[in-house]
Chain length 155, copies 2
């Protein structure tokens, strides 16, 4: 399996918002240790629990199960590490690629990022007018950092 | 979701052993923190993942899902905290209630406890002659503690 290349950008304005329906994601961790993570999330009205092993570079063990959304929401509210990550995700087709625009809510409200998956580092792609500065590889924008240091607390 | 009310007792003698077949349990924790536990286990040839909230006296949040036994065994071997807990469980009907007697093996050999699930905190129940001291809420007997401090190491 080839390595997937993702590039991440900040998003300008709100023209992107009319281009796709937003689907609500709500997620949190029951365990976020180095050795394994246990994530609970809802995507729309579906619930999931996902167990992942450590990052070993090549392959990472992953087990995901569909669970009742009510269970997932109760675990998120009562048991998960806080703050939760809440966002609306918009999947926007542009040329041959899909942009995933994440509009964060809650403690990360105000942050909007867009990701595109490419087959190689130099694969060309259309850049919509609402795409701003590239933040690929900037650890401040990792999901784990958005729990520990939410956007609302940034200087 | 569910709230379980359980009372736990030590077990005396071995008269209980002839009252039901023992079923092998193998289990381990993906998280055994104070705030929540995530347990994976096999019961005979079935797999389960179970999330529980903190112990608040004798009522606690619990969510359990059936998963493939192969997944459960892979998570137990590759990801769970060690040592695993292995035991034989005997389900013994007495009056209107089922007593679950756990005969621990491995690092916890010698420990035998019995649990009864009740509909309310003050629900009456028959107490068999082999039931000893109550240990409900005693953290030494939590399964998670039996991983960190197995019975064989107790003074």
């Amino acid at each position: 399996m080839g390595k997937e290349i993702e590039r991440k950008f900040l998003v300008k304005g709100d023209a992107w918002k009319a281009l796709a329906p937003g689907i609500r994601y709500r997620q949190g961790y029951l365990n976020s240790s180095f050795d394994r993570t246990v994530r609970v999330r809802t995507i729309g009205d579906q619930g999931f629990i996902t167990v992942k092993g450590p990052n070993n570079g090549i392959a990472r063990l992953e087990f995901e199960y569909v669970i009742p959304a009510d269970d997932a929401n109760e675990m998120l509210t009562e048991l998960a590490e806080k703050p939760l990550i809440e966002k609306n995700r918009y999947r926007i087709l542009r040329g041959k690629h899909v942009w995933e625009v994440d509009e964060f809510l809650g403690d990360n409200a105000g942050l909007v990022v867009a990701e595109i998956e490419l087959g190689s580092v130099d694969e060309p792609f259309e850049k919509p007018e609402w795409i701003g500065e590239e933040v690929s590889g900037d650890p401040r924008y990792y999901n784990s950092n958005l729990v520990a240091h939410p956007y609302s607390e940034w200087k």
